[in-house]
């Protein structure tokens, strides 16, 4: 029998700008209780392994969270491990768990992620901490910010391909609208392209409404062999099996300037996608993928992503995004959850929440207003830095 993992259950908190009643372990408790409700499990005593997903000791004000969180949710004394990969942490955690199950090290593994990136940290402190994930002496100390690095990339994309602020504003509008159909989303908004263009500049060409959210939240996914899930998950039989069928990971230089002359695209994302597509036997991703969660840390990043993931040819992302190709009802709806722009992004939970959205879509359990009819294969795209580490995971319904 295959050891390819299935999604045995999911749980997450609503993502929020501020949870004054929750530290990271409180957030995780909520996500795990949601998992119990989702699976019908009374507790986690049958789960064989844990995998802790969080980015920042600084944001969470706690080191060695893996052991603390493992205790919080009753998994002691089973093994655990922490995986960290910047913004890609959640997706890298799932990818690592995939390998743990495939290797036979365990038959079931709970991937638990949480982060407190919300208002418990002032925006200036948040920017300083995120800048620590840039190159300390060569970027951070000059006053560089991630918004600035992404913005410089987007300016190069605009100058090379004619991409416009109106085109990336389409992403800012659509993803926040999609968030309105997701009760767990942080900040649904009904806005127009004009609203985005009129919002204050943060790092030109990006404006406030082009920027994603800082969030508090937690998300968990239980991965297991199908055999284990059938034996241990009471509600597993009620759903079509969704396999975590393929995964890819690529890397790139931390500093944008070291990528010269390739400063308009994410090489790491292309490498990750190629690996995942090969593993999943995908040759025409636009046709063979039904729904995708893309890493829209900034609106224009989604335009770069649809090109790097091979959905549309290089340089045509802006036109194709603006045409509605990736809207609900379009050929390949993306960020149906609201994405990082609308659902929110507590870093360690983000990649897990993206995979939860794909699972809900493939199970046919998303809110009808955002459900993609007949979706059978979905993709998540998650990255760290300016795609310094990039992870592409693919999920498939097989019934």
């Amino acid at each position: 029998m295959t050891r390819l993992p299935v999604i045995a259950g999911v749980g997450m908190t609503r993502f929020a700008a501020d949870r004054p009643d929750c530290n990271p372990r409180d957030l995780l408790a909520e996500a795990v209780l949601a998992l119990l409700a989702d699976t019908g499990m009374p507790d986690l005593k049958s789960v064989q392994h844990g995998l802790c997903s969080y980015e920042s000791d600084h944001f969470n004000r706690q080191m060695t969270l893996a052991a603390i969180l493992h205790d919080q949710i009753g998994l002691l004394p089973t093994p655990t491990v922490r995986v960290e990969g910047g913004g890609a942490t959640g997706a890298l955690a799932l990818r690592t768990a995939w390998a743990y199950v495939q290797s036979g090290l365990c038959d079931s593994i709970l991937v638990y992620g949480c982060e407190t990136n919300g208002r418990g940290v002032s925006s200036q402190t948040a920017n300083q901490l995120f800048a620590l994930s840039a190159d300390f002496d060569w970027e951070m100390m000059i006053g560089g910010t991630y918004t600035g690095f992404y913005a410089a990339m987007m300016r190069a994309h605009m100058e090379q391909y004619g991409t416009t602020p109106e085109q990336f504003a389409h992403v800012a509008v659509r993803n926040r609208r999609n968030a309105g159909f997701n009760p767990l989303a942080q900040k649904p908004m009904d806005i127009t392209i004009e609203d985005v263009l009129a919002s204050r500049p943060v790092a030109e060409p990006y404006r406030l409404l082009d920027c994603s959210l800082l969030s508090d939240g937690a998300a968990v996914i239980l991965l297991a062999t199908e055999e284990w899930a059938r034996t241990n998950i009471p509600r597993f039989h009620n759903r079509p099996p969704v396999y975590f069928s393929a995964t890819g990971c690529g890397t790139d230089t931390m500093r944008l300037g070291d990528r010269y002359p390739h400063i308009t695209h994410f090489r790491a994302k292309r490498a990750a996608a190629q690996q995942a597509y090969q593993m999943a036997s995908i040759t025409d991703p636009l046709d063979q993928i039904d729904v995708a969660e893309l890493y829209d840390s900034y609106s224009g990043v989604e335009i770069q992503a649809v090109e790097d993931l091979g959905f549309v040819p290089e340089g045509t992302g802006g036109v194709n995004v603006a045409s509605g190709l990736f809207d609900l009802g379009g050929q390949l709806p993306v960020n149906t959850s609201g994405g990082l722009l609308g659902r929110g992004a507590p870093v360690g939970a983000t990649g897990i929440a993206q995979a939860i959205e794909i699972a809900l879509q493939l199970w046919g359990e998303a809110d009808p207003r955002r459900q993609v009819a007949g979706a059978r294969r979905g993709l998540t795209d998650t990255h760290a830095g300016i795609a310094t580490i990039s992870v592409v995971n693919i999920f498939e319904r097989r019934d």
Binding site: D21, M141, G143, T147, E204
Partner: protein, 170 residues
């Protein structure tokens, strides 16, 4: 010991219908200020910063791969051989940039910057990579492709990267 100062904020959050957490609706929050101070080494980059005081702009050269790294790399990532220092003229071409309206205040130098400021990526003449730094120029004059050059400052700085910046070429 970190310098820790605390201010208390206590509130009772409203309970909701069937509240699972009804027992836990009292919430106390503190304002904490944790200060970390480091002796931060510039490591094998050090000569770049030392030479800025002499108004010289240094890169490193991999003689095997003929790559010129600015910012410098002590080890060529292509052939894994140590590089050698090489002085560049400091002139170059602006390749892309962003106009930052929000400063992260990363250090004392950055906190003293007026916003908006221009975060620029410059291909220095003779270099293989883009060098990121501030470009001090009137916004309306800034265009990708413009010629720029390194300028050197005289005022005291916290981080020596601020001993230089870019200006439009003369």
């Amino acid at each position: 010991m970190p310098d820790v100062t605390a201010r208390k904020d206590v509130q009772t959050l409203p309970t909701v219908e069937g509240d699972l957490w009804a027992e836990f609706r009292q919430v106390e929050r503190l304002t904490l200020s944790l200060t970390q101070t480091y002796t931060h080494t510039l490591g094998k980059y050090s000569r770049f910063f030392i030479e800025l005081e002499n108004r010289r702009f240094m890169a490193t050269h991999c003689e095997t791969c003929d790559q010129v790294y600015a910012p410098p790399r002590p080890l060529c990532p292509q052939c894994l051989k140590p590089t050698v220092w090489l002085e560049l003229s400091g002139t170059g071409t602006l390749k892309t940039f962003s106009v930052l309206h929000f400063s992260p205040g990363s250090n004392a130098d950055v906190r003293s910057l007026a916003t908006p400021y221009i975060f620029a990526y410059v291909l220095l003449d003779g270099a293989s990579t883009l060098f990121p730094h501030l470009l001090r120029a009137p916004l309306e004059q800034v265009k990708s492709g413009m010629r720029v050059q390194v300028a050197y400052g005289d005022s005291p700085v916290e981080h020596p990267i601020h001993l230089m910046y870019f200006v439009p070429a003369e």
